[in-house]
């Protein structure tokens, strides 16, 4: 057996040579761009490196000595990640299971598929505007922050997380469906042949086997949620500090408004109000690390275990 060709060879037509070089060029450029982002943000971020900033609440002032850190945005990012994952993961897995294992009637399954695609394709600012209109309804006032006098502003962690979950949802649905479809039919049949019901087969055989896929989809979704700005600005109020929406309870916290690392970066960077550009760079660096960590988790889950299907 001859080894596959490894480099450009004299016999190649020009078109192939150009294509070969273009492929290398594109790959190297992408590596360059990614490296530039990480290195530049790391450089700017570490320039203002101060662990104390992670523990201080921010203040809206141009006086850098008093503008504080970004504890609230970090906590806000965490709350939003947890809440939106709690909504998106179960919902997404349920939709994926229904689509792959039931999917009847066909027209309904196709409609659900299209709906997932529509949600996936909707820009987050549109989702945010829709969420604002939706949560400003008087009867949903208990879920959001209300101003003095009872005006429903439609802004809260709950409202933002609900819309954020729509960003993560298609990724969870997609990855879970892919994982379920990868399970050979004879594994399902083996379960049925032992007298297991369909529900038991899904719960005990299929979902455990699809776990890496579910994990991948969820982690990808979390990455998107952590990085989104539009929904935070519109639906979370982007108040630098977390404002409890009622009585200091946990539910009050979720009803309250706040900020995330993305909105903090936006407002403090020269692109926004430019309150504290140096701190914005550090915050952006922290955000980058969070997202890269999430992607690392994805890679670990995806390559962690070969299910070893016999086909």
């Amino acid at each position: 057996m001859t080894p596959p060709p490894t480099g450009i060879s004299d016999g190649w037509p020009l078109r192939d040579r150009v294509g070969y070089c273009a492929a290398w060029g594109a790959g190297l450029t992408l590596i360059g761009v990614a490296a530039a982002i990480v290195i530049y943000m790391a450089y700017r971020g570490t320039q203002y490196f101060d662990l104390g900033l992670l523990l201080e609440s921010p203040n809206a002032t141009l006086n850098q000595a008093q503008s504080g850190g970004f504890r609230d945005p970090i906590v806000g990012t965490a709350i939003l990640l947890v809440l939106s994952t709690l909504i998106a993961a179960p919902l997404g897995v349920t939709i994926a299971v229904w689509l792959t294992e039931y999917g009847r009637p066909r027209w309904l399954a196709r409609t659900v598929e299209s709906a997932v695609e529509v949600v996936a394709g909707t820009p987050s600012i549109v989702l945010a505007m829709f969420g604002l209109v939706f949560f400003q309804q008087q009867w949903l006032g208990f879920l959001t922050f209300d101003a003095e006098g009872g005006a429903v502003l439609g802004r809260s962690f709950i409202a933002a997380a609900a819309m954020m979950s729509l960003i993560a949802l298609p990724l969870v649905v997609g990855a879970t469906r892919e994982a379920l479809n990868a399970i050979p039919g004879h594994v399902r049949e083996a379960s049925y042949a032992l007298g297991k019901t369909k529900a038991a087969t899904i719960r005990r055989v299929l979902l455990p086997a699809a776990r890496p896929g579910i994990g991948t989809g969820t982690a990808l979704g979390m990455g998107r949620v952590a990085g989104d700005t539009a929904i935070v600005v519109v639906l979370l109020g982007a108040t630098l500090q977390i404002l409890n929406g009622g009585g200091g309870s946990v539910f009050g916290l979720f009803r309250g408004t706040g900020s995330t690392l993305t909105s903090y970066v936006y407002y403090n960077s020269p692109a926004g109000e430019g309150l504290a550009p140096e701190k914005a760079y550090f915050a952006a660096f922290v955000l980058l690390v969070v997202v890269i960590l999430l992607n690392f988790v994805v890679t670990r889950i995806a390559h962690g275990k070969d299910p070893g299907w016999t086909r």
Binding site: P184, H186, V187, L194, G195, V205, P208
Partner: protein, 324 residues
């Protein structure tokens, strides 16, 4: 065939006693079940099986039978179609206690479809329709709860398919635990050991029960699947070309195992391998397919008879390798 009528309302007193008719399904019940008394103490007395199942002497010498064997399952004029395409037409066959019944025939003659109808697994294909009647101990299987039926009529597949995320232990324990066959850890331990022992796998895996079922070799995986099929305490075991993915040595082990299991179970085996049918089975059913008819029975008889003195020329041609 999509417009098949729901089961007819009960006509005899027997049915009234049995309770309300089952939910509407697309499978036609032609007649009321004929109730036959189930065999006492799980069939025949165990017979000693000599291990003389070597590859050289393909045909086993039929052992003296202690009298007529008890019929456990029966299909009567069973026809199955996938959508408009018929796969099996009018098959009547008995499955007897303590016997291995081999279904042989060329590809596409409906052997596997027929086998899958015995535990109603054929129903999971959305387009499949069936007519005719199948009984287990005289009871119409269409009137049985499907999960209960599948526990009594267990199955081993062509591809070894242990549950990939489960350990060897859990593969055996899962079905039994779920079906309430066992309760508690020590009962489960006993069951797992006894099933793996009967499947001739215990000595090889007893120290690695926590390892994934997928880590075993193909032959071991298939024996694990047999152990799993035994764990639900079945009465009949269906085997769909259980050796086609295995090497000769593993094949021999599975065949030996099938012989040993006939002491307690009725076995129906689908095989492409003539020698295997000759080695393993007591009874053979030869099915064929032609332009006019899909999946029909050409000849039924004791394995010795079919292989030494086939009555039908098609059977003879197939067995001697002239077609198929």
């Amino acid at each position: 065939m999509d417009s098949l009528s729901p089961p007819e309302p009960p006509r005899s007193e027997q049915d009234v006693v049995l309770g309300p008719p089952p939910p509407v399904r697309r499978i036609v019940i032609d007649r009321d079940p004929t109730v036959v008394a189930p065999p006492a103490a799980n069939g025949n007395a165990p017979q000693a099986r000599a291990g003389a199942l070597g590859l050289a002497s393909s045909l086993r010498r039929p052992e003296p039978s202690p009298g007529p064997k008890v019929e456990r399952m029966r299909t009567e004029s069973v026809s199955i179609a996938y959508g408009e395409k018929p796969a099996v037409s009018g098959v009547t066959l008995p499955v007897r206690q303590g016997e291995v019944l081999a279904l042989i025939g060329p590809s596409g003659c409906g052997k596997t479809t027929l086998l899958r109808s015995l535990n109603r697994l054929v129903e999971i294909t959305p387009t499949a329709t069936r007519s005719g009647r199948i009984t287990l101990d005289g009871e119409d299987i269409d009137r049985m709860e499907v999960t209960a039926l599948r526990r009594r009529v267990s199955m081993v597949f062509q591809q070894p398919n242990p549950f990939p995320t489960m350990s060897i232990y859990d593969n055996v324990a899962a079905a039994a635990r779920f079906n309430g066959v066992v309760r508690g850890r020590s009962q489960t331990d006993d069951l797992v050991e006894s099933c793996l022992t009967r499947a001739a796998l215990w000595s090889e895996v007893k120290d690695t029960l926590g390892k994934s079922g997928a880590s075993l070799s193909g032959g071991q995986q298939q024996r694990l699947c047999i152990a799993r099929a035994l764990a639900v305490n079945p009465e009949v075991i269906l085997m769909d070309e259980p050796c086609s993915a295995l090497d000769p040595l593993a094949t021999l082990q599975i065949e030996q195992l099938a012989r040993e299991l006939t002491e307690q179970y009725s076995i129906v085996i689908v095989t492409h391998n003539m020698q295997q049918a000759a080695r393993v089975s007591d009874e053979t059913i030869f099915m064929s397919v032609d332009e006019e008819r899909a999946g029909y029975v050409v000849e039924t008889g004791s394995t010795a008879e079919i292989f030494t003195n086939p009555k039908n020329t098609i059977t003879e041609d197939y067995i001697t390798g002239r077609f198929g």
